[in-house]
Symmetry: C2
């Protein structure tokens, strides 16, 4: 879709409901609240909803947000590639024809909405919204710019990852012209961790073992370790990058217990190895640098098998 | 100095020696090698030196670098605010009048060189060099752009910190037009840690204690813990940000043993507290968010004193 067409939709409708994805991150929230504030500034009614509520972690975006009281007439999904990502709290919007417009940057978008605007090459949904808002010629409020910056920074790992483009940096430069206190936003997003998470990372790093001339590092997250940490199960997500953070490691393996003798394996690799091909050996798959599979057996057997196959691939 | 004037110096001289600071980081090395490659591409002779050698960590900048054989006639210091930062290996350049030109971004620069160009508002020395190179109209090689990007990313924490400006992002956008594999650079700089460092961080995070309704977090690095880790002493540097990484903490205190009953205290604070004023209570000082002091006494007494004073400041 043309940005002008999307802006016309904003102008021609009055009562908007904005859907954000479950387990919300900075991009879906930054996109959702950025759009909400933009629409409200146009004199429209607009609310943001999420299946899981709005986490404290990002409250700088919605500390002063209050729901408005109205019956939605136009429903927009932001950063939601598939209806299943809406979560149970937004189940009623998962039915066909419920969502009027979807704005997303996942090339895998299922085109479940009546109208879909996808830019697979844009690093964040919030960046797409920024481009749409810019086309409108309307002035943004500081909080709107802050939401958009947050979305862009989130999905690029603060401009660290491969999906960052010159255009991403240009957008950041422009958004910094607003009063957005970006350094504090970044601190909250990238440097601050819950006490539970710190404990979990400490325990997991402590379990790290090195194999194959230290080219392979492995962490093991057993049910026992999870219970010992006493932290929320969500704190055990996203740990798979840890083994690859050790210098010289080319394959980082995370072995996470699902049930007795059932292990979920997450693999991360440097450019020296194909994670997807490696997980394919066990019936799994994924991307070239990040993939996964499931292996059944005793922990010892699972680990031994992984190390044996990794050794074969690396020729060690 | 005008950029044109600096470019004239590059043109009018032929045999350059480039000094980088001791314990080299991505900015001094990125500036040094970026300048070296730029000068060599002009047909000049140029070498880079450092008191401590060039770490493997940054070898993507100098994997193919070889010293040239010549007698230096013009000496340039990059990112070196003070002669003491040259280190013992470069002692002979610390004498007055030895350095011809210093290019730096530290406002505290001591102006020890015959000519000094300082931009205190520019986040990285490498960014200053980029602006100089741009003014020359000369084309950069990919490796030169990669060095400059590395310097800029290093000193801004990958565009995370307050010193990042719209201009910083614009420079990054322009440098990304070259083939610089920036995602891999960032992975090596920000995500990869030595095995020793991982062990140290794990041990130190394990020692973290919370006080004052969890608004104060403290880590303690004793000689005993350092010995137990068996890691290089340098791996214990730069840990002071860890206590402030716990959610809700407004003052993070690092207590590091120097000798028996002598402790070096590093303090980091959020916007709710003044680190410099706090350390001033113990005869220390520093910046508003990062400061330090030294306290003598038993570990128990030192910790109790710090917690008591922090409680008074926070009114807890």
């Amino acid at each position: 879709m043309e940005y002008g067409e999307i802006n016309r939709i904003f102008e021609e409708n009055d009562k908007f409901l904005i859907l954000t994805h479950k387990s919300p991150d900075g991009d879906t929230l930054g996109s959702g609240f950025g759009l909400c504030y933009f629409l409200r500034d146009m004199g429209k009614l607009a609310n943001v909803v999420n299946s899981d509520g709005f986490p404290d972690r990002y409250d700088f975006m919605y500390a002063e947000y209050k729901d408005q009281d109205f019956e939605p007439e136009f429903i927009i999904a932001v950063d939601i590639a598939d209806v299943t990502l809406m979560g149970s709290g937004l189940a009623k919007y998962q039915q066909e024809g419920m969502v009027d417009l979807c704005i997303d940057h996942h090339i895998s978008n299922k085109h479940y909405a009546k109208l879909t605007h996808v830019e697979g090459q844009t690093a964040a949904a919030a960046h797409i919204l920024y481009k749409i808002f810019k086309e409108s010629g309307r002035k943004l409020r500081d909080i709107t710019a802050k939401c958009l910056y947050t979305g862009i920074a989130t999905d690029t790992g603060c401009f660290k990852y491969e999906n960052t483009t010159p255009e991403t940096h240009m957008a950041a430069a422009e958004l910094m012209a607003y009063d957005i206190d970006f350094a504090n936003v970044n601190r909250k997003m990238f440097d601050v961790k819950s006490k539970g998470r710190l404990k979990v990372e400490q325990a997991v790093t402590g379990s790290m073992e090195y194999y194959l001339n230290d080219k392979c590092a492995m962490i093991t997250i057993t049910t026992e370790l999870m219970e010992k940490c006493g932290a929320d199960p969500a704190e055990f997500d996203g740990l798979a990058s840890i083994p690859l953070s050790a210098e010289g490691v080319v394959i980082g393996i995370t072995v996470k217990q699902r049930h007795k003798n059932v292990y979920k394996i997450s693999v991360r690799t440097t450019e020296e190895m194909d994670a997807s091909a490696f997980c394919g050996l066990f019936g799994g798959g994924g991307h070239i640098r990040a993939a996964g599979c499931e292996i059944r057996g005793s922990l010892e057997d699972v680990k031994a098998l992984l190390i044996e196959k990794a050794g074969q691939v690396l020729g060690i």
